[in-house]
Symmetry: C2
Subunit: 328 residues, 2 copies
Amino acid sequence: MRVSELGEFELIDMISKLIGKPAKDKTILGIGDDSTAWRTDTGIELATIDTLVENVHFTLDTITYHELGWKSLAANVSDIAAMGGIPLYALISLGLPGTTDVDDIKKLYEGMIELTNRHNVTIAGGDVVKAPQLTISVSVTGKATDDKMLTRSAARPGDIIAVTGNLGTSAAGLKMLIGKLKFSEETTSLLRKAHQQPQPRVAEGQMLVQNGVKAAIDLSDGLIGDLGHICRMSRVGANIDIDKVPINPIVKDHFANKALELALVGGEDYELLFTAKPDIIDKVRELIATPITVIGEITREHAGKVLLLDANGNTIDFQKEGFNHFSR
Amino acid sequence: MRVSELGEFELIDMISKLIGKPAKDKTILGIGDDSTAWRTDTGIELATIDTLVENVHFTLDTITYHELGWKSLAANVSDIAAMGGIPLYALISLGLPGTTDVDDIKKLYEGMIELTNRHNVTIAGGDVVKAPQLTISVSVTGKATDDKMLTRSAARPGDIIAVTGNLGTSAAGLKMLIGKLKFSEETTSLLRKAHQQPQPRVAEGQMLVQNGVKAAIDLSDGLIGDLGHICRMSRVGANIDIDKVPINPIVKDHFANKALELALVGGEDYELLFTAKPDIIDKVRELIATPITVIGEITREHAGKVLLLDANGNTIDFQKEGFNHFSR
């Protein structure tokens, strides 16, 4: 069977089972969460790895090297943020064609450094190899805040579902870039930045874990897909009130009836989605300056599934679930 | 300027300078050594990252998926071994075409698991992405043995230069595979294994650091190239007695006058090259079961350069210095 037939998540599942036995000895969380985690004498260490491939995950027609440097690190730092953790060190393995301009590599690293400086992360090492297209593998290590973690498996029936910031802005930015859509300078800049220089919610993740939140994920695949991961790993269901999903007014204005789809399946917003009891949600909404929006609730029913409800509480059929990296 | 004109090591140097400032705050060793290292409350942590790209670093014509899994992890575990460290956790980011057979991915992970089981390393996490060709990024973290490390910058004039095992066997294996050379079953198996399933010298590295050795590197680029790294980073020179370079008799028999070249510039043996005062070398030769061969000495003269000497002490001109990944 081909990987494209099996699907990304089934492939990861197969790999998890293969390496499952030794992993259980020492690790707290193996493959399947945003980061992997293991206990040491002084606390819990976190680590994550991710690869961006030219013409699969980005094209140099629409992203600058500086932005690409930022984004490649932001995605990994966001994985640590999704655990409520403190990102500390980054390792970068760069694959590039011999024809690459040295100045472009300089810009790539400057973008990485801008992001790491903002989050007090140290680029500790890496390597450079030849490759037919630009390939950026980043590994970020960190530690858990106060020995506690946000995980995908801790959502419980009765939990409220909330998200930081707005959803769909990044996907709107991608649509603008690919479609070469012309908007005002301000709108163009906002949408471009949302897609190319996302802000990992590091401080927010740490405040969530410090205030009793236990379940979270960062929105990289899209709301439905990522909430689906939480549902499967927590063996719970989820109801989303689609009218409550926060969408930037600029996205609503410029993408009209497409805006909700962008918010539901768009991906790459790198906002945090988390679940907790109502009193905890109330507390963190007061403490965290970033806007937090309640969008639904965790249910005992329809475990593993995300239901979308309209204003009247009717279920909406929405086929597109997340982003299967191999099928498109 | 293109990357191919600048050269791999100059590119790494440029990157080191770019990220140099923040790295100095927290890291003990940044880019430039086998692994990067930083101090924590409980000791020194080590981390390394490396990427193998199909048709650049390997071709599926000559390597099985099982061997590839082994080799991709062995290279990183060897980087930790070169620091005298204890490898602990591996993260794997896999890029692959959708057409890849799922069974092949299973074999790839089985190869990885065989290697990690042997060295008590846990595959703690990773991800899978789509890519136009098979791309394997591996990051391995570990810790320093007794808070001490082997580095590339600790060689001193008067040190003896020694290596574990034999050199050139891996390159001979590659020559056999590419040239489809026909040898006896035993020879074929030995050469193939040397190239496709190298043995990282983990236990040996730990014994070196425990017994007072301070300078080492693993032989991935080739003896001359890798010893050159030590010379530049330690600001010393090196003299190699070419007659002393250990070569497997099978390689001598089958590759005749090419055998020495394979041993000097072949690469990917993943043996350890180390330097220390004569009494320390004598001690570790007694303690370590793996054969250790003295091949030369570190000098104050011709700093940064490796000189090759024949049996009469005359210098030999050997142009090919190591393996510049971008120029061929």
